[in-house]
């Protein structure tokens, strides 16, 4: 009798489809990290004195810190002196329209299925594209400008809106926060900045596509989004990276600030190169994302679909300071082959009647290891606070793992905390049942996985939900039916 090959294993062995590398001349500085390098980065970006000082303080702090080891992920030591901390595509003169953008760069976006022109015309999305470390194309800026919305690269914000940057930079993730965030504070090269003024509802989804490209370039983005009183903004972040053999460090920081009655919705679809089937190569994604509901009745909502990276270390969190403020976290994390993900959230309840919701879906296939780590902390001041957490794990095959570490810290008797968790397995029985009804194995797996993730996909903006399903499909199989 022949041994039937498990259909799940066949699917789990599909190759990364977005692997390519584009040849664009890059302007890099020598590898390594010291005060000189930081001064050089700051000088190249023509930064005001306060920025340089902030970077240097962060660097000095970083020298005293140790890389964290508590996460359930394993990787060889990173040589921080071997990393190039600044790399920008060489520009002849700054492109003012898409016509002036390097055609090779535009082709790269096209391969990813996100041609800027099309986005601009069809989807009505303003894209601030971060290619390596410098923004090369910004669209819809004028339209947003009329509403008083500032949406630009971080470098531009430093030049044109230094007061706003100075006021909010580090106000949610201080430069002393953690090893990776502190490193980012010292060396970050660019990112996105958004400010929505009082009472303005941003009329379109703001979106940024990230890409890691130049050889051995650690990418250190910094994103800062501020929604002033009564403002609303929905921000999308999505990325895929080209095939690469050496591990690449990515240590981004995202800070969100919501003032009274403001709402920020931050959605991510992440598909960085996860490494090959043996787990070689791939991106190390060590990211600090945190939002502060500073004002009363404010709301911050994180939605993430994580399918890429060799290692993901990421805990988008909410600090609920304002009374009646709301924090949400919806997450799908998929690990395949030798991918490792340690992800989750922190909800810190400080204000009265603050509420938070956590829905986490972990999918493990191949040898993937998926860890949910979440903390719900309810302080004494947070009378009437409520939290609901739900963590579900789906296993495909028998070589993967799912781990759940929920921490609850409740210092208040008037609060309510609920936690639910489940683990299930995609069985050959389920797949066969679908096939007997005429569905292909791929369609069956995709249907089962989508069913599992439905509660999270529902939270994504429509067009992003489609992309998320596509990426999830690609990560598990050839196509989604």
């Amino acid at each position: 009798m022949g041994t039937p090959v498990s259909s799940i294993e066949v699917l789990a062995n599909q190759e990364y489809k977005w692997g390519f590398h584009s040849d664009i001349e890059a302007d890099s500085i020598p590898p390594g990290l010291n005060e000189e390098i930081i001064r050089l980065i700051s000088a190249k970006k023509n930064e005001p004195e306060f920025m340089l000082e902030w970077r240097l303080k962060a660097y000095r702090q970083w020298l005293t810190m140790k890389e964290p080891t508590w996460a359930n992920v394993h990787y060889p030591p990173i040589d921080y002196q071997g990393i190039v901390y600044y790399s920008a595509p060489k520009k002849k003169s700054g492109p003012k329209s898409l016509d002036e953008v390097d055609p090779e760069l535009l082709r790269t976006y096209e391969k990813l299925g996100i041609p800027l022109q099309e986005r601009e015309l069809l989807a009505g999305v303003a894209v601030d594209a971060v290619f390596d470390s410098v923004s090369v194309a910004t669209t819809f800026k004028e339209k947003l400008g009329k509403l008083g919305i500032i949406f630009c690269s971080f470098s531009e914000a430093v030049q044109n809106h230094p007061d706003l940057v100075r006021k909010y930079l580090g106000s949610v993730v201080p430069y002393t926060d953690n090893f990776f965030a502190t490193l980012n504070s010292a060396v970050f090269s660019d990112g996105s900045f958004c400010y929505v003024p009082k009472g303005v509802r941003c009329p379109m989804e703001l979106s940024t596509y990230f890409r890691i490209n130049a050889m051995n370039t650690g990418q250190f983005e910094r994103t800062l989004i501020v929604a002033d009183e009564g403002a609303y903004v929905s921000y999308l972040e999505g990325c895929t990276a080209p095939m690469r053999d050496t591990n690449q460090l990515h240590a981004a920081v995202v800070e969100l600030v919501a003032l009274d009655d403001a709402q920020i919705k931050y959605s991510t679809v992440q598909n960085w190169y996860p490494g090959d089937k043996q787990g070689k190569g791939g991106i190390y994604n060590f990211v600090t994302k945190r939002g502060k509901c500073l004002g009363v009745n404010s709301k911050i909502s994180w939605t993430q679909v994580e399918t890429g990276s060799a290692i993901t270390w990421k805990y988008p969190s909410c600090i609920l300071m304002g009374d009646n403020s709301v924090g949400e976290f919806y997450s799908v994390a998929l690990t395949n082959n030798y991918q490792q993900a340690d992800t989750g959230t922190k909800m810190i309840h400080i204000g009265k009647n603050t509420r938070s919701t956590i829905v986490s879906k972990g999918i493990s296939a191949g040898h993937g290891q998926n860890t949910y780590r979440g903390m719900v902390k309810i302080l004494k001041s947070a009378a009437g606070a409520r939290n609901y957490s739900q963590c579900d794990s789906l296993l495909m095959g028998d070589k993967c793992g799912a781990h759940t570490f929920p921490y609850l810290e409740v210092k208040n008797t008037s609060s309510q905390v609920e936690h639910e968790a489940s683990t299930s397995k995609i069985g050959e029985d389920q797949i066969f049942y679908c096939r007997q009804r005429g569905l292909s194995t791929e369609d069956a797996v995709s249907m089962i996985v989508h069913g599992f993730c439905k509660e999270v996909f529902r939270e994504l903006p429509m067009e992003f939900a489609v992309e998320a399903q596509k990426l999830l499909g690609v990560s598990l199989e050839g196509s989604v039916g």
């Binding site: 009798m1 022949g2 039937p4 299930s424 069985g427 050959e428 029985d429 389920q430 066969f432 049942y433 679908c434 096939r435 007997q436 009804r437 005429g438 569905l439 292909s440 194995t441 369609d443 249907m447 089962i448 989508h450 069913g451 599992f452 993730c453 439905k454 039916g481």
Partner: protein
């Protein structure tokens, strides 16, 4: 429509089917009876294409094609339907979404247009009623939290929507009380047609009171040991399977 010739199959190296011969024509209803472990469900699974079972000899022709060479989904798309003994639960996937995807896979194969959600609902509304199913079951996840009876009814309901050419009902009566059995049986009878063949696998004669077969075959030790008309089922009800199992020790002639 279906011709099974000298079919042998093993699971985990153990031979379960030891030379099955069976011919089923369009419009016929064949009952396959037999004691536990005789190979009834294995036969259904092999015809459906489950890869846990290895076919070691013999062949199966379906509408002139080599059925065993076809993938399970291709068999389904070409009109082979199995109502499972233990229908599987699929959490998070609505019954309606699932069945529409299945129907569209079948329709695509027949060169028909795919149905959108609205057209689909119109199509299935009456069929839900005739199975006396709660419409709310359509928006619930596939078989999840269904009672045993609801699951079986759901299988026959799916069959009525997919309109197969060859339907194989694997112990559809097991776990049903008499009222549910009658509903399921009338659902099956409503689908009898000169163009459709059915293989009804059951342990008990009871089901065959409601679904009256044209032919009855008795399976024992992986072979068909007796074939006859509907009277054979009644005879078995009186005599039991024991006598036949003794016969099975001898090579059978059918």
């Amino acid at each position: 429509m279906l011709e099974i010739i000298n079919l042998h199959a093993t699971v985990a190296g153990k031979e379960i089917l030891r030379g099955i011969d069976l011919t089923v024509k369009a419009g016929e209803v064949h009952a396959i009876m037999g004691p536990n472990g005789s190979g009834k469900s294995t036969l259904a699974q092999v015809l459906a294409g489950r890869d846990l079972y290895a076919v070691t000899a013999g062949e199966v022709r379906y509408e002139g094609q080599d059925l065993l060479a076809m993938k399970p989904e291709d068999r389904a798309r070409q009109g082979v339907f199995v109502a499972f003994q233990y229908p599987v639960e699929i959490p998070g996937v609505s019954n309606m979404y699932f069945l529409r995807a299945a129907l569209n896979a079948v329709r695509k194969n027949r060169g028909m247009d795919e149905l959108d959600a609205m057209d689909f609902m119109t199509l299935v509304k009456d069929k839900i009623k005739s199975m006396e199913m709660d419409e709310a079951l359509m928006s619930r996840p596939v078989n999840t939290g269904f009672s045993g009876g609801e699951k079986k009814r759901n299988e026959i309901f799916q069959m009525s929507v997919l309109e197969p050419k060859l339907a194989i009902l694997d112990e559809t009566d097991s776990g049903l009380d008499i009222d549910a059995l009658k509903i399921v049986a009338s659902g099956v009878n409503a689908q009898r047609s000169p163009l459709r063949a059915m293989i009804v696998i059951t342990h008990y004669q009871r089901l065959l009171t409601y679904i009256v077969p044209d032919f009855v075959h008795v399976l024992a030790e992986g072979r068909i040991v007796r074939s006859g008309g509907k009277a054979l089922a009644l005879e078995l009800e009186r005599t039991g399977y024991a006598a036949l199992e003794a016969e099975a020790a001898e090579p059978a002639r059918v």
